[in-house]
Symmetry: C3
Subunit: 131 residues, 3 copies
């Protein structure tokens, strides 16, 4: 399920930087949630400058939005957000007002992966034994 | 409300395949939910290979994500996910590890369509009578 | 947190219209929620005609989807949806059946902005005092 989209203006990142960011988002997600890395997806979505606005004005922006399985603890989510924030700021060099990091939670039963509907938190071992 | 996005790498589908997939997603959604087909939206979003990562590495991926009205039964959602999965696998020829299908649920009152805020499940008849 | 995506087919809006829409979405969001305008993001995402389907057929479509902080009242959300609808219809000239407006709600603690996890509704004053 974990599906991260990295939004930025065009050419904000080089191909090497994207590869680094994808590795780091994956590492951070796995470290905090214990999810198998092979289910962590990262998509980069770039927009031309005229398609990005903040406060009603054209502005540089970089955002990471993850859709993750519901049920992670508040502590897990906070450390996840903070590590993603640090990554986003380091790689883009943008200021605090130009960044946004968020996760949307989706119940396990609302997603299918590896050919099966996902297990609820706590039931992963049985599920993974079948994959 | 039903709004499906089909994510893939560039040129994964021909224009004919997209038309087929859009018809099939619409047919599947209508069959399982009873929603009028004219409210089922499908958007295809393609990314270059360097913008798609799984497990931190560049990888082919195909995903369907739907945003649907909250309140469908677990059985409805599971059959919806399974039929979408089969469609996704058939049309892309990708393996189980390269696919992801999910739905996000959104309360009826959080969307407007046909000029009106959507009805709660069970109140559709009155609503449709006005459209 | 407020993050709006405006979906349309290519060239549906000129650059000037996009600037107007971004200003208006920002104004509407601030008017109904009291959020600081500098946190309102608007992204325009355009698709080729062959990538947009309604009811299984290629069709023009224009949609606004916002991800907003959970906890707004039903009245706030309804007036927000109605004002966004009017904006969308005015700027695109499309008919009721070609438009969709929705908001997805996300809990404050699931997002980071300005370097901090967002405050719950009602705790904004303390939070803003630190930014």
């Amino acid at each position: 399920m974990p599906f991260y989209t990295f939004y930025s203006t065009e050419n904000a990142l080089t191909a090497d930087q994207k590869a680094h960011v994808a590795e780091e988002i994956t590492r951070i997600h796995v470290a905090h949630t214990g999810a198998p890395s092979r289910y962590v997806r990262v998509l980069f979505q770039e927009a031309t400058a005229e398609n990005c606005y903040t406060g009603g004005k054209v502005a540089d922006v970089a955002m990471i939005r993850g859709i993750i399985r519901a049920g992670r603890s508040a502590e897990t989510k906070e450390t996840l957000l903070r590590d993603l924030w640090e990554l986003l700021q380091t790689v883009t060099g943008l200021s605090d007002d130009e960044l946004l990091v968020s996760v949307q939670e989706n119940p396990a039963r609302n997603a299918m992966e590896g050919g099966e509907v996902l297990p609820e938190p706590g039931a992963e071992a049985d599920w993974l034994a079948h994959h």
